[in-house]
């Protein structure tokens, strides 16, 4: 394998890992507050389609990214209203969000299938991008990739050293106790769910505006679900989400990697890889059951209703 191919592979790994990072970070924050939102796929799809429509209507890609984020937030507020205010079952509501998002996005995007746009272009960072190999991998990416680095840093910092992070963990740990110490449990949960929605919407926008600048029905292809597994795999730690996302990114671009070798495998079989890898990871986790349990937010998936 020559150095140029390796560079290309790592460059593509970062790109494919980016949507996973965004969704998984959002879902991690959400789960830290005790809410399990299985609707990532639906929120991503909505972000992707609405962002794409905005790009065509306004012609401005950055407006489109913002619209994607808002679409995700809108979907997340629907989920939040049902699962937080109306104390519905989080698993069922998450599934509903995925099914609803899938249906609504297909409906909205029906007339946009096959339309092409010029996607968000890479932005070379002066000086840094000139470093051999690393420059290409890390500093010749598009702005949303840089944004994903920044968002990782933000989430990491919030949980590492802010009161907000502590409050979120407290709510996810024991909502009754959090309420008794005067934390607004529903407020925190709404905040986290909507943040998760913004991240999923952004990830969807990344797919339809930067990664493959077009819209097709169900284009997320399970990335939302993979991100959900990633959160468990990462034991709710932001730095491990980064690592995991890039590993999965690498698994999704096997065809690139195989270019350097003589194997020829049918593309549909290669496409199974990230899903097989996800199952493999879930199995690996079982060997460390005790540790997973210690890291899981204790009230995850349990609705909370304050006494009135």
């Amino acid at each position: 394998m020559d150095i140029e191919l390796l560079t290309n592979i790592l460059y593509a790994t970062i790109r494919t890992g980016t949507p996973l990072i965004l969704v998984a970070l959002g879902e991690m924050v959400c789960e830290k507050s005790g809410v399990l939102n299985l609707g990532q796929e639906g929120m991503m799809l909505m972000g992707a389609v609405v962002g794409f429509m905005a790009a065509i209507t306004t012609g401005n890609l950055y407006v489109a990214v913002l619209v994607s984020i808002f679409a995700g937030m809108f979907m997340a507020s629907l989920f939040g209203f049902l699962s937080i205010s109306l104390v519905s079952n989080q698993v069922a509501t998450g599934l509903a969000l995925t099914i609803f998002g899938g249906g609504l996005s297909a409906f909205l995007g029906a007339s946009y299938v096959g339309v092409g746009i010029d996607g968000i272009q890479p932005l070379n960072i002066p000086l840094l991008s000139d470093i051999p190999v690393i420059g290409k991998i890390l500093f010749q990416q598009d702005p949303l990739v840089y944004l994903s680095f920044a968002l990782f840093a933000l989430v990491y910092w919030v949980f590492k050293s802010t009161r907000l992070g502590l409050n979120i963990r407290a709510v996810g740990e024991n909502p009754e106790a959090a309420n008794a110490t005067g934390i607004n449990v529903h407020g925190i949960r709404y905040l986290c769910v909507i943040f998760g929605g913004a991240m999923a919407g952004l990830a969807g926008g990344y797919l339809s505006l930067a990664y493959t600048p077009l819209w097709s029905e169900g284009m997320t292809a399970g990335k939302g679900w993979i991100a959900l597994s990633l959160v468990v795999f990462a034991s709710w730690k932001a730095e491990r989400i980064m690592l995991g996302a890039y590993l999965f990114g690498a698994a999704s671009i096997m065809h690139l990697i195989l270019q350097g070798t003589r194997f020829e495998v049918a593309p549909n079989l290669l496409a199974m890889l990230p899903y097989v890898a996800t199952i493999f990871v879930l199995v690996l986790l079982s060997s460390n059951h005790a540790k997973t349990k210690l890291n899981t937010p204790m009230s995850l998936g349990v609705p909370y209703r304050p006494q009135l």
């Binding site: 519905s88 698993v91 599934l95 509903a96 099914i99 609803f100 409906f107 468990v232 199974m272 199952i279």
Partner: protein, 379 residues
């Protein structure tokens, strides 16, 4: 500041949500009807927004497809797979095993049965259906066995594993129709050869496309109904789902029950898949399932996990498929309205379900400071 905000909220919305002492049976039956009404109202508004006459559109979507007997038989074709998948899923959901994998099990059933049908392409004997259906059932069963093994042996979350298995199954189907099972004379289209006549499911009547798969569905309904209401294993599944700690305390074997529920579901979804392939479709195509496995999830929730409810709900969901096709043909609206209506149904249902355990009551006006009854108590 908090209290003033609350005060404003209370004047604007003078109701509060209060837990009922006991779940309301009535509401659990009314809630699906409320959800359907809300879906129709939203549909009405949606069509207005789209600039079409809402009455015509809703009529075309929900009534026109079943306005004649032929329409009802066509509905039967959609009901059969939904019913089979939903009955299997209801068993899993009763046990709180969140098997989302009916879609993958359906696809594998179609693929396994389809491969068998292609092997018997030349056969004239009607017995050939037996190995074909068996292959379909066993493929679905095997696919769910993977999920069962991952759940009981590796404690992997079944939601995530079954979803992944769905994507893998879809890619396996795509691989087969692009490769080994592709019709050699099919102009390179990604689809298999048409199955032989002997490999197709018998029709219930020659004038209609409806075949015996509907009977499979009704049979599954009766069998699982009896199992869940009368048998010891059904009781154990109910307890496991309602209260896993109680099941453990009583000594029920969680692993055995999980295997039972998942394998039954896999077998039924596999049967649904092979029936679809050897029924209305008649060959293997990439989009063999229009999302029946996912729609069946909605069917189970909407049908209150009760067999009769599931039958009615599968008819409604079957209708959304026909409605989508109908508005596309008649009014050139996108077919994807199907998915939108399905999603809205489930969403509204989950919201209305609040009324089962909670009731909304008017907040009594808080006593005025001058109110004499007020100063008595703990002053």
């Amino acid at each position: 500041m908090h209290s003033s905000l609350n005060a404003i909220l209370e004047t604007l919305f003078p109701f509060k949500i209060e837990k009922r002492p006991s779940d309301s049976k009535l509401m659990s039956y009314l809630s699906p009807l409320i959800a359907i009404s809300l879906t129709l109202i939203s549909g009405w508004l949606l069509f207005i927004a789209l600039g079409v006459d809402p009455f015509t559109a809703l009529y075309t979507f929900f009534i026109l497809p079943i306005s004649d007997f032929y329409g009802w038989t066509e509905l039967g074709i959609k009901v059969a797979p939904l019913l089979l998948c939903a009955m299997g899923l209801s068993l899993c959901f009763k046990a709180k095993i969140w098997n989302i994998g009916a879609e993958g099990q359906f696809i594998m059933g179609a693929l396994g049965g389809g491969a068998m049908a292609l092997a018997f392409l030349e056969s004239e004997s009607s017995w050939v259906l037996v190995p074909i259906l068996m292959a379909g059932i066993l493929s679905g069963l095997a696919w769910s066995a993977i999920a069962a093994l991952l759940k009981t042996h590796f404690k992997a979350n079944e939601i995530l594993t079954t979803i992944m298995l769905n994507y893998i199954a879809l890619n396996a189907l795509l691989y087969c129709v692009h490769g080994p099972l592709k019709d050699p004379e099919g102009f390179n289209f990604p689809q298999s050869a048409l199955f032989g006549d002997a490999s197709l499911l018998p029709l219930l009547h020659d004038d209609y496309r409806l075949n015996i798969s509907l009977l499979f569905g009704l049979l599954a309904l009766t069998a699982i109904w009896t199992l869940m209401s009368r048998s010891w294993i059904g009781y154990q599944i109910n307890v496991l789902g309602e209260d896993a700690a109680a099941a453990k305390y009583a000594g029920f074997k969680e692993k055995t029950l999980s295997w039972f529920a998942l394998l039954t579901c896999g077998a039924l979804a596999g049967l649904a898949g092979v029936s679809e392939a050897t029924g209305p479709v008649g060959q293997l195509v990439p989009q063999i399932s229009p999302g029946y496995g996912y729609a069946a999830i909605i069917v189970v929730f909407l049908g209150r996990m009760h067999p009769v409810g599931i039958l009615l709900a599968s008819m409604l969901l079957g209708l959304t498929y026909m409605g989508g096709e109908m508005v596309q043909m008649e009014m050139t609206l996108p077919k994807s309205l199907t998915g939108l209506f399905q999603g809205m149904l489930l969403f509204f249902l989950l919201a209305s379900d609040l009324l089962i355990s909670y009731r909304i009551i008017r907040i009594k006006k808080t006593a005025m400071p001058s109110d004499p009854t007020h100063a008595v108590s703990q002053g």
